[in-house]
């Protein structure tokens, strides 16, 4: 087992009286892909938002390779090596596709700018299947291409930890196959990924381990196949008719 990269300890988030995330703890080792699963509203995206700095935890802590992330602003967490995509894809609509990626290169902790940056942006676009389309306006891209561009932007940051929030949602079967291959290729390169996903085919294919949440609480953790067979997980997804 390789070294632990990400550690969540008793992480909680309250919105007024609502406890969205309740004392959740788990770890992600360097180089592994972990699936964060659970029904809608179980607090998965809230966990991702706390890791990336979109939200501040109410209690608990988040550490990345010894550095405390919890309490830091999003731009400082990004500088420490966390990049993400968003559940509802967030493009920079007035920029070109190339500039969307360039923005990640220009503001990461080891910035690239000028010709070097443009070459790198082109290479990243090629990697996600958008070769030669850097001059197009981001707003003109189709949904799947916007998702590809968002992934290229996240990869441009050269993150130590990549957070994917339902990046495979809304794809047709052929696109899904391409998407899974793309993420598998990242794993081959040693990228550490925490992904929130509902597409079980992708979870089985990609994630060595999975963490399952329900109503803000972690209800299971372990090897993906075992976790998906767990009685409580099945009940959380399909409803407890037999209770």
């Amino acid at each position: 087992m390789s070294a632990t990269l990400l550690t969540l300890s008793s992480l909680s988030k309250r919105f007024g009286g609502l406890v969205a995330v309740n004392e959740v703890s788990f770890q992600v080792a360097a180089g592994e892909i972990v699936g964060l699963l659970g029904p809608n509203g179980s607090g998965k995206t809230t966990v991702l938002n706390m890791i990336s700095g979109s939200l501040r935890p109410t209690a608990g802590s988040i550490d990345l390779a010894g550095a405390r992330l919890s309490g830091l602003a999003a731009h400082r967490i990004a500088a420490l090596g966390v990049a993400r995509t968003f559940q509802l894809v967030r493009i920079l609509p007035s920029l070109t596709v190339g500039e969307n990626v360039l923005a990640a290169l220009a503001f990461r902790s080891k910035p690239l700018w000028g010709r070097e940056a443009r070459d790198r942006a082109d290479a990243l676009l090629e990697e996600v299947g958008l070769a030669g389309r850097g001059e197009e306006r981001a707003a003109d891209l189709t949904y799947i291409d916007q998702k590809r561009m968002e992934l290229a932007r996240a990869l441009g940051a050269e993150p130590r930890l990549l957070l994917l929030d339902e990046w495979l949602a809304g794809l047709n079967p052929a696109e899904l196959r391409l998407g899974i291959n793309l993420i598998a290729a990242l794993r081959e390169k040693g990228m550490t990924i925490l992904l929130v996903e509902h597409v079980m085919e992708a979870v089985r294919a990609l994630c060595g381990r999975a963490v399952v949440m329900n109503a803000g609480v972690r209800i299971a953790e372990g090897a993906t196949a075992d976790v998906l067979a767990d009685a409580e997980v099945v009940r959380a997804y399909l409803g407890g008719a037999d209770d």
Partner: protein
């Protein structure tokens, strides 16, 4: 080379403008001073508001502070030092205002900046009445109008040059990302507060200097003159008319509008404010994105490709 040609043309235009006082009557020179002042104000305003989308109505607060620094110190300190002091006063106010307000979004920022301009005016009025004892101040300086004009010309050229450099820098890209989506900007590692504050401060210092340089033209100032909110509105509408996010937008907006306002106030002094209001409304309806964008879309209807500003500008000097 095309870019070399552009540079030569720009230097020639600058030289011609610098030589203008030698061929002009007092009225023409006065007109040029006012024009150059508004070109600089609109340019400095657009440098921040046009690029971040934070619409500021505090222009006259900084403009007036600049004028008042000159009025207060021109008899005790050498002129260059007075300008430095004015710039520092503008910077200090910009930092205080920026730190406390740049978290406000949209219309709240607009209202705050408008309120700020009024607050500064009331504070200065209070100070003059209760501490100084007289509401007005006189500015007697031996600076000829041509010197004021040359300073404003230099300031306008500097503002354009700084804007041009920023648009092609990482800072320029950061601003465009911020204007599009602040959440994405933060997640890419952009320090939102610092970026916005730096630009607001730069823009505000330039505006303060315009007020300081123009102050000797008035001879007599009082808060109602130096802090006249019309200055903020004119600046805003000039930048919007030309295109606030474009390098040459504010110039293209300021020149025709300034001349039009001069003509209106000379020929319809009693209806000036009404005409001004109607003109504001017409501009917002007719050219919401500014003249530059309008011309570009006309030229580009057949041409699908979008020209990425930041990406192809690298090779130029």
């Amino acid at each position: 080379m095309k870019s070399a040609f552009v540079w030569v043309a720009l230097v020639l235009v600058l030289a011609a403008l610098a030589a203008a006082p030698f061929f002009m009557q007092a009225y023409g020179l006065g007109l040029l001073i006012g024009l150059m002042g508004y070109v600089t104000l609109a340019g400095a305003w657009a440098l921040f508001s046009g690029r971040t989308g934070y619409i500021s109505l505090a222009t006259v607060a900084f403009f007036g502070i600049g004028a008042y620094m000159v009025a207060a110190f021109n008899e005790v300190l050498p002129y260059p030092l007075v300008l430095v002091l004015a710039a520092l006063a503008g910077l200090a106010l910009a930092l205080v205002v920026g730190l406390s307000t740049l978290r406000l979004a949209g219309v709240y920022f607009v209202i705050f900046t408008f309120g700020l301009a009024e607050l500064v005016r009331q504070l200065v009025t209070w100070y003059e009445i209760n501490v100084t004892g007289t509401l007005g101040r006189y500015i007697f300086m031996s600076l000829g109008p041509e010197h004021i004009y040359w300073q404003l010309l230099a300031l306008a050229a500097a503002t354009l040059f700084i804007t041009w450099r920023i648009d092609r820098s990482r800072l320029g890209l950061a601003l465009r990302v911020i204007a599009d989506d602040e959440v994405v900007a933060a997640h890419l590692g952009i320090n939102l507060a610092r970026t916005k504050l730096a630009l607001f401060a730069l823009s505000s210092v330039i505006i303060t200097l315009v007020g300081a340089v123009q102050a000797p033209r008035w001879t007599y100032i009082e808060p109602a003159i130096a802090f006249n909110p019309t200055v903020s509105f004119l600046t805003l509408v000039m930048a919007l008319l030309g295109g606030a996010s474009r390098l040459w937008g504010p110039v293209l907006g300021a020149v025709p509008l300034f001349l039009l306002f001069e003509w209106l106030s000379a020929n319809f002094p009693n209806h000036y404010s009404i005409l001004l209001g109607l003109l504001f409304i017409a501009i917002v309806f007719a050219v919401p994105k500014g003249i530059v964008a309008l011309v570009e879309t006309r030229f580009r209807t057949n041409e699908r490709a979008f020209r990425p500003v930041a990406m192809e500008a690298e090779g130029k000097p």
